[in-house]
């Protein structure tokens, strides 16, 4: 059984003429133990997808089954509980609470579960050992380096044994050495059997993933398996294409690269009716986008 199965999930913002389609009838299923890299230009709906998968947000349409349970229509309190028990978040900006010690930060999800203090601090200590931060338990976030903070954040995401770990550009704020340490750690966690979904702009990070999803304008346009340790040919080509470009700005903005990528439609099987509807929506959304742009 899939850990995550979403069917025709859409997310719309605004209403009337100002409606923006952030997710456009997406179908996706994720099996236990996968490491998925989600790529796509800014505004392609990656983060919205993460928010929906992480139950921070409700889909406007469609069904979302987490561990076989339909969670697309839960109240916000219920969603919070599912989040607490099933999902670990890793953010670009770490998002640790500055006034709590690292140990307390890591134990935080358990405190909302009602785990007793001694028990949860012990659990937090164990996870911190796993990420190699045992000697920093009693520090506050301000005293740690970026790489250490992200490892602490990973520990926090792991502490409640989640079904999925959602990482939104986990290395975005890190130097290359720290980024490598963090990615190796994520990779180790993946090897232990955890399911990881990671949003990234950095093509070279796709080598840690065993499945790569490209998004464009709220749709999954490309979804392929890859071998861990290798950057897929498609990504490599894109990077090379960019290198030959003399547009330096484009080189800096890696997300721009994504526009050059796929011409092949998503692997997902769609019925004719669905395709038409999707096309219509997409057209409308683009029209709106243009209109708003003109304003």
């Amino acid at each position: 059984m899939s850990v995550i199965k979403i069917e025709e999930v859409s997310k719309l913002y605004g209403f009337g003429d100002a409606t923006t389609v952030a997710l456009d009838e997406i179908n996706l299923s994720i099996e236990k133990g996968e490491f998925i890299a989600v790529m796509g230009p800014s505004g392609s709906g990656k983060t919205t997808l993460m928010n929906v998968l992480g139950l921070l947000d409700k889909p406007t349409h469609g069904a979302y089954k987490l561990n076989g349970r339909n969670v697309s229509r839960l109240t916000s309190n219920r969603r919070a509980k599912v989040r607490r028990d099933n999902i670990g978040f890793i953010f670009q900006s770490f998002n640790l609470l500055p006034k709590l010690t690292i140990l307390e930060n890591v134990a935080l999800p358990l405190s909302y579960k009602g785990t007793r203090q001694t028990k949860r601090l012990k659990a937090a200590g164990n996870v911190l050992e796993q990420v190699g931060l045992s000697d920093r338990e009693s520090y506050v976030p301000g005293q740690l380096s970026g790489g250490q903070l992200q490892r602490a954040a990973i520990a926090r995401a792991l502490v409640n044994n989640p079904s999925i770990i959602i990482a939104d550009e986990p290395t975005g704020n890190l130097d290359s050495v720290s980024a490598r340490v963090v990615m190796e750690l994520l990779s180790d966690i993946h090897k232990l059997g955890n399911t990881v979904i990671m949003v990234t702009h950095n093509p070279s990070l796709t080598r840690y993933a065993d499945r790569i999803i490209y998004m464009l304008d709220g749709s999954i346009v490309y979804d392929e398996s890859s071998t861990v340790g290798e950057v897929p040919a498609r990504v490599r080509r894109a990077v090379e294409a960019l290198r030959h470009s003399d547009d330096d700005e484009k080189l800096a903005n890696v997300s721009a690269m994504m526009e050059t990528i796929p011409d092949k439609p998503a692997d997902v099987e769609l019925t004719e009716k669905q395709k038409k509807r999707a096309a219509r929506k997409l057209k409308k959304a683009r029209k709106n986008k243009k209109k708003n742009g003109k304003k």
């Binding site: 928010n51 921070l56 916000s76 919070a80 028990d85 998002n95 935080l108 909302y112 579960k113």
Partner: protein, 404 residues
Amino acid sequence: MIIEYFKMAFNSIRGAKFRSGLTMFGIIVGVSSVVSIVSLGEGVRQQITTQVGENSDSLILVRPGQQRDANAISLDAIGSFGANAGSLSEKDWKDTEQVEGVKSVVPVGVISGVAGYLDREYNGTIIASTSRLPLFLNQKIEFGSFFEAEDSDKKVAIIGREVAEQLFAESVPVGKRLTIRGSQYIVQGIFEQQNSGTFANINVNNSIILPYDSAKNIGSTIQLLQLYVEADSPEAVATTAESVRMTLKENHAGQEDFNVLEKEEALEATNEVFYQLTVFTAGVAFISFIVGGIGIMNIMFATVSERTREIGIRKAVGATNVQILGQFVTESIVLSIVGGAIGVLVSVVANALIRVTTDLQPIITPQVALLVFGLSAATGIVSGFLPAARAASKDPITALRTGN
């Protein structure tokens, strides 16, 4: 989870000591002033009530003057009775003793005069009474003793603390002689310091108490200001008081130019004053709690918007809306309860100062302390709820995007 909330609350208050202090200021001022006023009132009330003495339940007071004057008595000087004085006579006293149900009658009269010692003079209240007076005063003799019934014509005097210090300039002038209207009286006893206004309208501190007969013998007119009538039993008080009233009315040719008061009636004036004081205090308390509460609400709103990102993080790791609400309401409750506790402490210190510097004995009763704590907590809940609800309703995605 509740323990968790309190820990979080204490942590965040500790993290912003100065701001929390300012926030609590309103509550501290409100609580300390209210507790001080109430405890002052309570202290005075208790002092006056205990002044009545142990057999107070069967006590009836007879005073000269119209009924309405009973509520106009001043707490202090017996001299203020001047205007009403004179309508009670010795005959009234003796007749009252004969009334059925009356166990004993103790007269309180004053004579005019000045007490002298060596070349000093003291203008106090010279009271003529009988040996049973101490039963109604509830005021201890510190040195020496009160005179006995058989000493009624002896020239002895019992004096108050102020008389001892100002006339004799010493603390224990037992055995010394003072002069009143040319007669010498030996000091037989000294009252201990009296600390408040009295139920009986006698300030013993500046009084010189003489046996009734001997005071009469030195040729002065005794103005009877009060008769303490002791009924046989507390149950008989009402009927006895009625009988006394009838007897006196007869004596006064049908004129009711006197008051017969049972204990409760006599205390009524005092209680009325304190009732009004309590109402006033309650008003002040209410206002100060509202002001304090608004202060807390204000700061809580600021705190909530300042900590938007924290709220986002907490929600992302699984805090429910209810848990966020609980956290912030608890914080506000802790602020107001700590403020209340500090307020009580401040008023304890203020009370200690009042005790040292004045004759008043303020008392903080557990009820008042509990009430104030309850009110503080209620203020915390009420003023914290709206900000906490705002915190709880924040969208985690937007909250996480907030930079700080």
